[in-house]
Symmetry: C4
Subunit: 238 residues, 4 copies
Amino acid sequence: MATLKNIITNINSKNGRRFDIFIQILIILSLVAFSIETLPHLKDSTRSLLYWFEVFCVSIFTVEYILRIIYSKKPWKYILSFYGMIDFLAILPFYLSFGLDLRSLRIFRIFRVFRILKLVRYNKALRRFKQAAVDAREEIILFLIITGILLYLSAIGIYYFENEAQPEKFSSVFTSLWWSISTLTTVGYGDIYPITIGGKIFTFFILIIGLGIITVPAGLVASALSNTVKLKKKKHGE
Amino acid sequence: MATLKNIITNINSKNGRRFDIFIQILIILSLVAFSIETLPHLKDSTRSLLYWFEVFCVSIFTVEYILRIIYSKKPWKYILSFYGMIDFLAILPFYLSFGLDLRSLRIFRIFRVFRILKLVRYNKALRRFKQAAVDAREEIILFLIITGILLYLSAIGIYYFENEAQPEKFSSVFTSLWWSISTLTTVGYGDIYPITIGGKIFTFFILIIGLGIITVPAGLVASALSNTVKLKKKKHGE
Amino acid sequence: MATLKNIITNINSKNGRRFDIFIQILIILSLVAFSIETLPHLKDSTRSLLYWFEVFCVSIFTVEYILRIIYSKKPWKYILSFYGMIDFLAILPFYLSFGLDLRSLRIFRIFRVFRILKLVRYNKALRRFKQAAVDAREEIILFLIITGILLYLSAIGIYYFENEAQPEKFSSVFTSLWWSISTLTTVGYGDIYPITIGGKIFTFFILIIGLGIITVPAGLVASALSNTVKLKKKKHGE
Amino acid sequence: MATLKNIITNINSKNGRRFDIFIQILIILSLVAFSIETLPHLKDSTRSLLYWFEVFCVSIFTVEYILRIIYSKKPWKYILSFYGMIDFLAILPFYLSFGLDLRSLRIFRIFRVFRILKLVRYNKALRRFKQAAVDAREEIILFLIITGILLYLSAIGIYYFENEAQPEKFSSVFTSLWWSISTLTTVGYGDIYPITIGGKIFTFFILIIGLGIITVPAGLVASALSNTVKLKKKKHGE
């Protein structure tokens, strides 16, 4: 049993690494199965196969979850930790499906996808990224506020320019906000765009100002991450 | 009354902070109300509710404005300051609405949205951003000129290539300018694009050159801000 | 006449600065006039007004050009310099229009827009930008080659995936190249996009790889410019 | 014959450089010919001309390949090297075309485009880029995983919001993934976009979060490359 404990908790042991890779492959396969389930016009045989694969996955994940609780020094600390809750949410939807009718099941099944977050459990990237996000916390929040104000003001502006010309597309400030988002992020689906001269000139100025603002948070994240990475490298003497 | 003065002017006191948060929530709610008003097919009861909520907001903002003038050491300095004028513009449209007919009201109501700028009154981000913008002032202006020239020359170019093939879409240099903007910012709504081979090759070269130019001001802002942030951190010994 | 010479050649004198601003305003106005001329359904009176304004502009520009030659120490050096040729090209189309029939005139008139380049004659931005471009010369050329290869390979790839499904849109490698350009620059007009599963998966990988490559030259320009600016600041002791 | 060996293997000799430029021009011309072949409605005479040009190109490339094997000190090392295999793949499709029927020929002909990679044989950019990619290897892989998770979770999210409203466009998680890709890369073709309010709000948050993540790998590549370039410059004492 000491070996089993080692496999579950010690990622650095040979068998621990193997077990981790096995769990990760199972997560990816269960997500692929989940995605296939959403395909329309599935055969009943396929649907049945996917169900039994899901039963298999949940069994493994449940056993893993229980063993993690047992082998943990402070079980409640694990249960209430971020990954403990992810492990729980990854199996919950399956067990809930017995007590609930099929309609509400659909909403709960979505929790299954949080299994994907188990993929980065031992990933150093997440820790570094978390650190970078904490370092640039203040600046990022401030810029999100400025971005929010910019999006709102541009929505108000375009509403006043375009509402009369396109009353159905720019029907309210809320639909104009959709335009703000798709324009300032430069996605530009083409479902909503200004047609009046005033609206086009307004778009011009909003884009010139907006591009210089909306890309700043991304730059700050990258810069903070770059610094964190450098620091980590220095520490490890690389 | 010394307490009231403290609440209004001292953001660092416990009650001052509470009052500030209350005002900020009220601003956001009044902007939400403003946005809901633009929805078509509103019920009369909703419209009436929104009106009375607006009356409530303006009352609070007016009291706040008057108290700020009274408690200010140099009242005129506050009145003529940026935030003093924002505070005034935030309540002006409501009082104007009594003296004006309903048609012209619509234009004035838009000033209400400037309330949003009150949200960043005590925000250090705006000061840092202002500093960053001042630091990179010269470079940003120069690049805006180059961007302007690039947009204009590309509009002229595409006009000559596409005007004959699409006389309605590329009807003049002005409509071609709209294409320049939506293309060089990579928004690409899809309402206007070249169809001739010459126009497509021209777009290719303009994009290759343009992307290297139009993203530079954004990079300069981010770089200047990053320096300002570093400087601030050094000062505060963080 | 010494004063006139001073006005033309010495940008730092009071009158020289005034003259320069006057010329710059005239350039912008003549470009606006040029743009208005492209509007369809112009009245004859407007067209006539624009013509006489053009005559006025060209007269001023011609006098300026001749005076610059006269007052120049080495006339031929000025005539063959970049700005000397811009000054010549800015007036050439007008004089050519007398000797040529109206059809070919249209092609020549486009040279008038090069007047816009006169706007940056004394602009330090252009010099810095030129220096930055020279500094990062090698890297930019190399990345343009890589970008070219990427665009070509993605055009070939999408052609093989989509040609059968959309023989009209992806009719040849050349039309596929148009898709490559509009996709990898993230413009995405929506006039041409993959519909097969293979094509979509291919687009996914091309975008993941491409975004990491196509934005690099822009980053190199910004970085080189940032260094040039720093160097200039140090020199001037700012 | 020593001269011939010199021409083939010594890029720094005068004739070696000439030969290299000749080969590079031939590669570009053969790729242009390949592209022209894909044009629909080609005349038989053009098709015949292109075929004989291809025969000419392949002859030269074959002679070059054989000479490179002969003059190489370790022939097998060359044959199994990256460029050796590119040289082989560049001529293979032509010789295969004799033994195969016309249908399967089409698939093999695509290998001809790998000739383009011969263009960067002596290019230092590729080496630097390779070095930069190796330096930022760990970070890039980690961020590709995070990008993958983000794309998948946003596909799941939009599927739940839009599937009922647009059952044909968001028919499964796989078609939703296509939306994720075109949205988060900000391409935004406009063939698929959310129409429900929930879906639009979800898109808003995904874009705000996503833009700060998806641009990070590009930034890391640029940063790593910039460092590699600096290092190279120091080494060469530039």
